[in-house]
Amino acid sequence: MGKTVAEKIFDSHLVDNPSGDINVIRLDAVFCHEITTPVAINDLVVRDKDRVFDASKIKVVIDHVTPAKDSKTAAQGKILREWSRRNHIQDFFDIGRNGVCHAIFPEKGFVRPGYTIIMGDSHTCTHGAFGAFAAGVGTTDLEVGILKGVCAFHYPHTIKIVLNGHMPEGVYAKDVILSVIGRLGVSGATNKVIEFTGSVVDALSMEGRMTLCNMAIEAGGTCGICYPDMTTVAYLWKFIKDEYSDKKAALEDFEKFLPDSDAKYDEVIDFDVSDLEPQVTFGYKPDNVKPVSEMKGIKIDQVYIGSCTNGRIEDLRVAAQVLKGNKISDSIRGIVSPATPEIFSRAMDEGLLKIFMDAGFCLTNPTCGACLGMSNGVLAEGEVCASTTNRNFNGRMGKGGMVHLMSPATAAASAIAGYITNSDRYKSAKRK
């Protein structure tokens, strides 16, 4: 019988089948950040097992609160720093070289098609954009991953989402995934992997694919997966060029993780994006989604452009294109956080940072920042944020605050207007 991508990956990584459909699989990479790892480290120390299964497969970053904001976050960083040093973990990214985990790890070439990856972070599903199985786990799974290089999962079930049609102008990967989540619901993909395919996905850059896969968890999905193709190979080429004679050979190798034509899916959903409008969330669940046109005029206080969903170079380009020559509304606090130092420096070279600053945005270092209301950009009670992030839970950006999720284009346009609005009016104004 044919297999899905996740089934192929599981079958090639199986270590044990302790009971039923539980598969203990071998891990190719374990990613760590300073929020969920310290408790695992402390527990390993208490158990007298302060070791790692393979230092070269563990990648570590301080990203959620950086620079540290108080003694507690400073202590979290310190635990990670000292642990990485004493366990000889080379790939440790501290301040000055750090960025949002799900942006920096792919950028450093740590993800490959067919890989198995875990991290103590729910948006680990992002890395499935490369044709990998990447799943967010809790601290105990992380701890065992660090120590033993294995993790237990139910054998994967998969939903296939086929995205076809022509993406209208002003509509981006973020709008697509928001509307997919609106259709699936917040638990529509629980315990399942989502394969994204179709001509829309084929045409997306790796950045766009990461935006899609990043939000698989918001529908409950274990991982979002895109099929490896020439776009994947081109993105990874500088890291793999010594391993393959040419790009075609690399692609052929990666294609062993494509699904079989007779693979079995729990569900196949066809979705034509041709009539899709820009989308935005309302309320406190990511499946509360509406077209921007129906939410137009909702007052906002803050605009946040950044995060593992939409803090990449393409996102900054799109937002800057809308902002260029405009000022944001007096009533708006605009914050932009390029997701990694490399993105920051490219945005600087391309003049994007100047556009943000001229428009009245505050520019921060690469960090999760306002996304989870833990460090900067926290909302006050009753305040509203238009955000390019992935979660609008009650209190996410600060107690009593409201978050509306949207694309960078919509966020930039809303910053200029002072209320939620579509990006076309600014683009069309410029065209005139």
């Binding site: 969920t36 527990d43 976050t73 979290q76 729910s122 601290t139 105990t140 638990s187 409950g220 979660r391």
Partner: protein
Amino acid sequence: MKNFSGKVLFLDRSDINTDEIIPAKYLTEITKESLKPYLLEDLKLDGFESLRDVEGKTVVITRANFGCGSSREHAPWAFEVNGINLIIGESFARIFRQNMFNCGMMAIELSVRDIDRLFKIFADRETFLEADLEKNLLVIKAEGVEEKISFSISEFDRALVEAGGWVAYADSHY
């Protein structure tokens, strides 16, 4: 093995997420114990006050998709340090459910009908639940009423509960 029997806290809503269970601002804590006062702090339910209502409870009965959102194991830990080791609902988010068993705690799924019945009969009363792991049976009691409901648990999950969690299990197996 942990204790799974005691007084029940009813949380009558679906999709209760990890930010409601333990807000992100407490993720800077590096000991489990320090999470104790903040459990369910941001949960808004009619008449629910976290500090008052969590006190003395051992079991939670709730609706669907409990624990959705972030992967933070701080969510089960916040229950654990409050003495709550068993959560019963229609369904759970994957990571939350796995985290519970990984800690040697239990997340038990019952049918929508059973959950509905439990809410109808018991939600307004002081309720006591006994979990019998040998017979796979839950005995739920309030003054003058008693209900028995059997539950299922996979062999692997049971092994985790008996081992006291995934670290101990993995260490002896891999």
